[in-house]
């Protein structure tokens, strides 16, 4: 059973073409999988492994390293409350407690209606605007408990202008075809850089 839709399969091939080694396409393909499904399924990882010529375990290793790749379904809106220093000093802890009781889920959980996932996050580089949070990776600054409630109501009731989770940018990377690197033909493979050469003292 194929994971990628026909359209995305084509796109996946195009992405692989961009790199001299197909393994380099692993992360862009994970993005594509998350864009398609909202999260990354085991089937997606297995198919990506096949596409880039490695094992599913290696794809899992890469995928699980990055928190923004979700390996479980998440809500339509992922809310990340910053918990690092500046925000913590400015009341991020209280904000998190408030958020947990307002949404009825613990940090890391999703609401049963599939609308919200609440997460604590590390510094979001907006220390002057503490406490801050992100909705689908878009900043909201100096958030108070009231503002949080208002935000949730707004998101829940209207078709808020935030892209669906998983789509990091509405503008896809586009590389003109004449700038593709493409896979290196086997004859032209030069030896790996000197620091990559492994040695067991065999000869």
């Amino acid at each position: 059973m194929k994971f990628f839709t026909d359209e995305n399969s084509e796109l996946a091939q195009e992405i692989i073409e961009r790199y001299p080694k197909s393994r380099s396409a692993m992360i862009p393909l994970l993005h594509l999988a998350q864009e398609q499904e909202g999260w990354i399924t085991d089937e997606a990882m297995a198919e990506i492994a096949e596409l880039v010529g490695t094992t599913s375990a290696e794809v899992l290793g890469t995928c699980s390293f990055y928190e923004m790749f979700k390996r479980k379904p998440v809500g339509k809106y992922v809310i990340n409350i910053c918990t690092t220093m500046s925000c913590a000093l400015m009341g991020a802890g209280d904000l998190m407690k408030h958020a947990e009781s307002r949404l009825g889920v613990k940090s890391g959980g999703s609401t049963s209606d599939g609308m919200f996932t609440l997460e604590g996050a590390e510094c979001q580089a907006a220390c002057t605007e503490a406490p801050c949070l992100q909705v689908n990776y878009r900043h909201q600054y100096r958030v108070t408990a009231d503002q949080f409630d208002q935000l949730i109501e707004e998101l829940a009731s209207s078709d808020h202008d935030v892209p669906r989770h998983g789509v990091l940018s509405r503008i896809r990377q586009h590389i003109p075809e004449d700038r593709f690197v493409r896979p290196t033909p086997p004859d032209e493979v030069v030896s790996a850089p000197i620091w990559m050469v492994t040695d067991g003292g065999e000869k």
Binding site: D42, M45, A46, T54, T55, S56, A57, E58, V59, L60, G61, S64, F65, Y66, E67, S191, I194, W195, V197, T198, D199, G200, G201, E202, K203
Partner: protein, 811 residues
């Protein structure tokens, strides 16, 4: 990191000047100088990663001392190192305190306790106590990551040894670090187990008790183990192993690192099949066919069993006795049997190979190569069985050498093999036509032809398929000898000590010491008092003779022709028609069950002696445990039988036999018992002399397959129904039922779907087999593995045909 060059430079370690090789890592130079730097992640057979930071030492390269990981810093001239400075000690204490933040202190119930690098180095270099009071990580207790390996994630210190091994050495990156930070853990992909042929090595190199092997879990404590160094005889590679036992039972093998053979690695089959030695199914007492009920074997005393056997040999007379097998034996046992056949019975009907190898006179006459030669040759030409399946550690060595750019692997054969991922070129040709494919290549202006013609070439040489005779391989050898006279050969022979058995004369036309039966050495003639006049029959010849009533007594020396000989029907007919079948074995195999007399022999670990690997390297086997019941060494059985036939073999111990081998076998002259028992034998003693002249037939092309047939290709798998595997509880489930693989287009042409049961018809048999479509299989061929549980290719193969064709029909 660049290649260490012989140019030496001087570094100062702890105030002492030490010679080091430019390019090598500091930790390696320190090891050679006898200075131990503690480490967890560094392993001398894998690339350094600097994961664990345990090997931090004070290094001064002119800018003052700085703490740097010695596994990541190449030596440089004038470098000054202090491995015992205050800073180093503080660093070591700090690192251990960190490593123990999450590592549980469950040493009393941990299998690794007592031989654990983390435990030992904490005692030696640790701070004594920890400042951490936080809760440690908790995970589900051991999760199986494969059928053989269990993982305790909370014990893991993330050194990257197992994952590096899986990726870099084994080429099966099925385990990987997952998650990040405090949650980092080694895992497999869900439902995709770490089913590598080499998974057991990760258990051996794990510096903590995180990885444990199912066959050893909770079997013994390290301080209860007794250990000897020996040689693995599962295949003919001759890997060095440490054999460990507890309470007179084998419990574990560990790979021993020898430069010339296995680099410390073992395949899982060799590592875990010790279970079969401990099996309750072992043959422990002589058996004899019940005269009242022909279906039964009855237990009997040794004296009566030997008397029956001796009488059968006596009555048959020299021309009508045949001895099949011998690759299970040590060199000494093989010599005793060779002497028994040649000097007592007076027959040359002896063959250690079961019709699946190459003629002994060719194997022993080809210019020899070593494994190290192969790993440094400009080109290694692999023409033979799939070495990943049959000589797994040779595959590992060649893979390592090819990936490091030290050699180029070129393989010729019909279907994909385990070499393909690292081969420079995989030349695909029809089964049996390797000679033609190579001739065509060499005649072309392909750059590879020049590479072969001008560079050094080592040929890993064997029979590519069980379903073809030796002729295609011999034709190929003839082409190589003519076109590439500088090529040397590493024979890819099947089964344990097959090379040693051939050396000791267990092959038609061959006498001990790689001499032709027509040119016996004076010493041999004097000791034996005469040799058979003419070359005898090989295994195929003996089975034919027995089947047609020309051979009365068949002696099976650890051989099971019914499941191991390519042509099951011929073997079955021969065993049925022979008047007396005498089997000497460890188990009641299919063939032993048909025998008239069965004699129990000692198994691996129960006998000392020597063994010889495919290179001709003689290395020691060491006895560790006592045999079960009344099982005896094979040489003793030969001596007893000789005595009952009125002769004295004049052999009274293994040492005695080796002295006689050294005296009468020209190739082994100078390889004295003292040398064999000295530390020189750690690497094995290479014996390459031979006095046999090479005669190869001129190339022949096999017959073209008819349009309706598929040419059968068959090979062994690592996990098959081999006796030792079947009797090892941890391994017996790993072999899969055989399935016939055919190209999807061929199936479509026949109107058959993948997964269907079909009728397979050959000249020998018609049976029902499951067929699977596989687009990697060459069109017009069909691949069926050999000796799998529930059957295999041997029912379809005609041992006399150069190639075998089959037809497929729907049921």
């Amino acid at each position: 990191m660049s290649e260490p060059t012989p140019s030496e430079i001087t570094v100062t370690i702890n105030g002492t000047q030490v010679e080091a090789l430019a390019g090598e890592m500091l930790i390696a130079a320190a090891d050679r100088a006898g200075v131990h730097i503690p480490r967890f992640c560094y392993h001398e057979r894998m690339s350094p990663v600097g994961m664990c930071r345990m090997c931090l030492v004070d290094i001064d390269t002119g800018r003052g001392p700085m703490l740097q990981p010695s596994c990541m810093v190449p030596v440089s001239d004038g470098m000054s190192v202090d491995t015992e400075s205050e800073d180093t000690k503080r660093a070591q204490e700090g690192i251990l305190e960190f490593l123990l933040v999450n590592h549980p202190l469950d040493c009393p119930v941990c299998d690794k306790g007592g031989e654990c690098p983390l435990q030992d180095q904490t005692m030696a270099y640790g701070p004594g106590e920890s400042r951490f009071v936080e809760e440690k990580r908790h995970y589900e207790k051991p999760i199986p990551i494969s059928d053989l390996v269990h993982l305790d994630r909370e014990r893991c210190i993330l050194c990257d040894r197992c994952t590096r091994f899986a990726d870099e050495v084994a080429g099966d990156p099925l385990i990987h670090f997952t998650e990040r930070g405090n949650a980092t853990q080694v895992l497999t992909f869900p439902d995709e187990p770490f089913s590598s042929y080499f998974s057991g090595n990760t258990v051996q190199i794990c510096p903590v008790g995180a990885l444990t092997a199912a066959p050893y879990r909770f079997k013994a404590r390290p301080w209860d183990l007794e250990q000897v160094e020996s040689t693995c005889t599962t295949c003919s590679m001759g890997c060095r192993v440490a054999v460990q036992s507890s309470r007179n039972e084998l419990v574990r093998y560990l790979g021993v690192d020898v430069e010339s053979v296995n680099h410390g690695w073992l395949c899982d089959k060799g590592r875990f099949n010790f279970e079969s030695v401990n099996s309750e199914q072992r043959l422990t007492t002589p058996l004899i066919r019940d005269t009242n009920d022909q279906r039964q074997l009855l237990g009997i005393d040794w004296g009566s069993a030997l008397a029956v056997a001796a009488e059968a040999i006596q009555q048959a007379g020299p021309e009508r006795v045949g001895i099949i097998g011998g690759s299970r034996l040590t060199n000494e046992d093989a010599y005793a049997w060779s002497k028994f056949a040649g000097a007592v019975v007076g027959t040359d009907n002896v063959d250690a190979q079961l019709g699946d190898g190459l003629p002994a006179e060719v194997v022993l006459a080809l210019p020899p190569a070593t494994i190290a030669d192969a790993c440094s040759a400009d080109t290694v030409l692999v023409v033979g069985p799939d070495i990943k399946e049959e000589l797994a550690i040779l595959h590992l060595r060649l893979r390592g050498a090819a990936n490091k750019g030290r050699t180029n692997v070129v393989e010729i054969g019909p279907n994909p093999t385990g070499c393909e991922p690292y081969a420079q070129r995989s030349i695909r040709c029809a089964p049996g036509e390797t000679a033609k494919a190579l001739s065509e290549l060499l005649a072309s202006d392909d750059p590879l032809a020049r590479q072969l013609g001008e560079g050094t070439v080592v040929v890993v040489f064997g029979r590519a398929s069980m379903a073809e005779s030796a002729d295609p391989a011999l034709s190929l050898a003839a082409v190589i000898r003519t076109e590439l006279p500088h090529a040397t050969f590493l024979p890819a022979l099947r089964r344990g000590n097959v090379r040693g058995a051939l050396d000791m004369g267990l092959a038609p036309g061959i006498l001990p010491g790689r001499t032709d039966i027509q040119q016996p050495s004076q010493a041999l003639l004097q000791t034996w008092g005469g040799v058979p006049a003419a070359k005898g029959l090989d295994t195929t010849g003996m089975l034919h003779a027995a089947a047609s009533g020309e051979l009365d007594t068949l002696i099976l020396l650890g051989a099971d022709p019914l499941s191991d000989f390519p042509d099951h029907n011929l073997a079955a007919e021969a065993i049925q028609k022979a008047k007396t079948v005498i089997a000497i074995d460890n188990f009641v195999t299919d063939s032993v069950a048909q025998a008239d007399v069965a004699l129990p022999a000692t198994a691996y670990g129960e006998q000392g002696g020597t063994t010889t690997n495919i290179e001709g390297r003689v290395s020691r086997l060491t006895q560790k445990i006592t045999p079960p019941g009344s099982a005896r060494d094979d040489w003793m059985i030969a001596t007893e039988l000789a005595w009952r036939l009125g002769s004295d073999l004049g052999l009274s111990s293994k040492q005695d036999i080796w002295r006689e081998i050294e005296r009468v076998a020209p190739s082994h002259a100078g390889v004295t018992l003292e040398r064999v028992e000295s530390s020189e034998a750690h690497e094995g003693i290479l014996v390459q002399e031979t006095s046999i002249e090479l005669n190869l037939p001129s190339p022949e092309t096999p017959p073209v397959a008819d349009g309706y047939g598929l040419r059968l290709v068959s090979g062994r798998k690592l996990w098959d129904a081999a006796t030792a595997t079947v009797h090892s509880p941890s391994l017996q489930a790993l072999a899969q039922a055989p399935a016939l693989k055919v190209h999807p287009n061929d199936l479509q042409r026949l109107g058959i779907l993948s997964g269907d049961d079909v009728r397979v018809i050959s000249t020998r048999s018609t049976e029902t087999v499951t067929v699977i479509a596989d687009e990697n299989i060459r069109r017009g061929t069909a691949m069926l593995p050999f000796n799998q549980p529930g059957g295999g290719a041997n029912r379809f193969i005609d041992a006399d045909a150069a190639v075998n064709d089959i037809r497929i029909e729907t049921l």
